[in-house]
Amino acid sequence: MTCIEAKGLRKSFGSTVALDGIDLKVEEGRILGLIGPNGAGKSTALNAILGLTAYQGDLKVLGRDPWVRRDQLMREVCFIADVAVLPRWMKVSQALDYVEGVHPRFSREKAKAFLAKTTIKPESRVRELSKGMVTQLHLALVMAIDAKLLVLDEPTLGLDLLFRKQFYDSLLNDYFDGARTIVVTTHQVEEVQDILTDVMFLDRGRVALDCSMEAFGQRFVEVMVHADHLNAARALMPIHERTVFGRGVMIFDSADRSQLAALGEARTPSIADLFVALIGAKTQEARGAAA
């Protein structure tokens, strides 16, 4: 079952192209991380998926065109678009009343059970809560909705370490059941590294990488190269090379593993390191040229 399918998704704001023909296919039960520098088009892509922005190209979310009937789509899709978008005047109990009133798939009992694990009081207003507590409240509301797709756009921005950790823990333990699909964008790549099943890099409106985490582990190898093997390693065409504590660290794409093992300690690179390897250099060039 395909959850999201996009072909040639395009969006421009005036002369700025935010999405330059994206192809995307997310199957049910996957957790996709959408990674990219600022202005890469991540939020635009998510807004298109959520029916918040018009677009060109083909896009189907749960079989529907999101721009045409956002309200119907939202029965099965949840999103946390940003931290702290809950209305500040609202009481916690009003938030529960409202969502229960308008959302056919909301379970008040579930939401209350999630809230019971926090220090949030039903009579508090959102403006009285800390940023972390607002996120906990939003997550409690969203996790109590029996949705097929959950979209998270920088859900932990500006939160402290404890809240961030807790956020993804509860998401995985209390929400994700293998049948739901999650799409998440974040700059804190290392936090989502272990929960993703798929990763996509976006760069200036284009897809720079699209692969599952299994394929990721097979394709990419990071080697701490011994000083005397540097030239031999470079001959194998690493896609990126950096120096850590005086030792060369190289990332290879689809190289022969047995050859690499002879050069030094080999392992799967982190998403963040691969991101820097694939996009960082190009972005720095672009920024340097612009400056």
Binding site: T53, R70, D71, M74, F79, A81, V102
Partner: protein
């Protein structure tokens, strides 16, 4: 793909909590959107209540002058109606004017504030369409506000009437005449009719304010007020005429003359016989106003749907 058709039941069985109104599924988004507007905008009923409280304090403090008022009637019986009824009409006008001012500011903020504080991202994550959102916001000044004002005015006038009765009772004079001058049931009918016609007459104003609220990036008040004034100015400079200004003036002030026949200009006291629904609902100005309101609301829906949120 069609296995995900919209035939999905709107509410899984057994989830409706106790004490909640049983509503057809189609009405629920409207009902709860309306509730949420009232949660957020408590000034819609607090402001009229505050004015009502001030009116009542004034009436209590002025109780000493009541027999004076009745004394004056003996001198000039022709002025009886004016002298006894004026405080009641004044109370009603003060509450209603306050209510409509609050309603105007409500409209200016209704689609603007949610974008400014980004809570629109939360509202849009719910299965509530932009049409539902805009229509419930329009229903506040069109229907909810008149109902609130009606209740507040009638209760205020009832308290005033009972209080005046208590004050006059010992002297024995005037009680019957007082009730004859302000027959609450009849005046309430006039009030209800007046409020309904006034809010319908103002529909294009509500629609315009909501549309500006959905459109303006900042300062919706200025965007709502200055462009119409600019049109008046340009017209008077370029053509030397004032037809747009007259149109605006008639829209602001014409409800009373259209809804009531034989109304005395400048007099706030109206009687049952002056109610003229045939004239009001047959008036072309009403219907052009409603058509303009519909166009403004459609624009507001379109703006709320397609406005870029980032």
């Amino acid at each position: 793909m069609n296995s995900l058709s919209d035939a999905m039941p709107d509410a899984p069985p057994g989830t409706s909590a106790m004490g909640r109104p049983a509503l057809p599924a189609g009405a629920k988004p409207y009902y709860w959107s309306l509730r949420r507007e009232l949660w957020e905008n408590r000034s819609l009923y607090i402001a009229p209540l505050v004015v009502a409280a001030l009116v009542l304090i004034g009436v209590f403090m002025g109780a000493l002058r009541l027999s004076e008022r009745f004394g004056a009637i003996r001198v000039e019986p022709a002025k009886e109606a004016a002298v006894t009824a004026i405080p009641y009409a004044t109370a009603a006008i003060a509450i209603i004017v306050t209510g409509f001012i609050v309603g105007a500011f409500y409209c200016l903020g209704a689609l603007h504030n949610e974008r400014r504080d980004r809570s629109i991202l939360f509202w849009k994550s719910m299965p509530v369409s932009d049409v539902t959102a805009v229509l419930t916001k329009a229903a506040i000044p069109l229907f909810v506000l008149p109902a609130v004002l009606f209740a507040v005015v009638v209760v205020t006038q009832l308290v005033m009437l009972l209080f005046d009765t208590l004050v006059l009772a010992p002297s024995g004079v005037g009680v019957a005449r007082l009730w004859a001058q302000w027959p609450l049931v009849r005046t309430s009918v006039v009030l209800a009719y007046g409020l309904i016609t006034l809010s319908l007459w103002y529909a294009p104003i509500w629609g315009w304010l909501l549309m500006v609220s959905a459109w303006a990036k900042r300062a919706p008040f200025l965007w709502a007020v200055l462009p119409p004034l600019a049109v008046c100015l340009v017209e008077s400079l370029a053509l030397g005429t004032g037809s747009f200004a007259r149109l605006l003036g008639w829209r602001l002030s014409g409800a009373f003359d259209t809804a009531f026949s034989g109304a005395i200009p400048g007099s706030a006291i109206v009687d049952l016989q002056q109610i003229d629904p045939a004239r009001f609902f047959g008036s072309l100005d009403l219907w052009t106003g409603l058509a303009a309101a519909a166009a403004f609301l459609a624009a507001a829906v379109w703006l709320r749907r397609s406005r870029d949120l980032s």
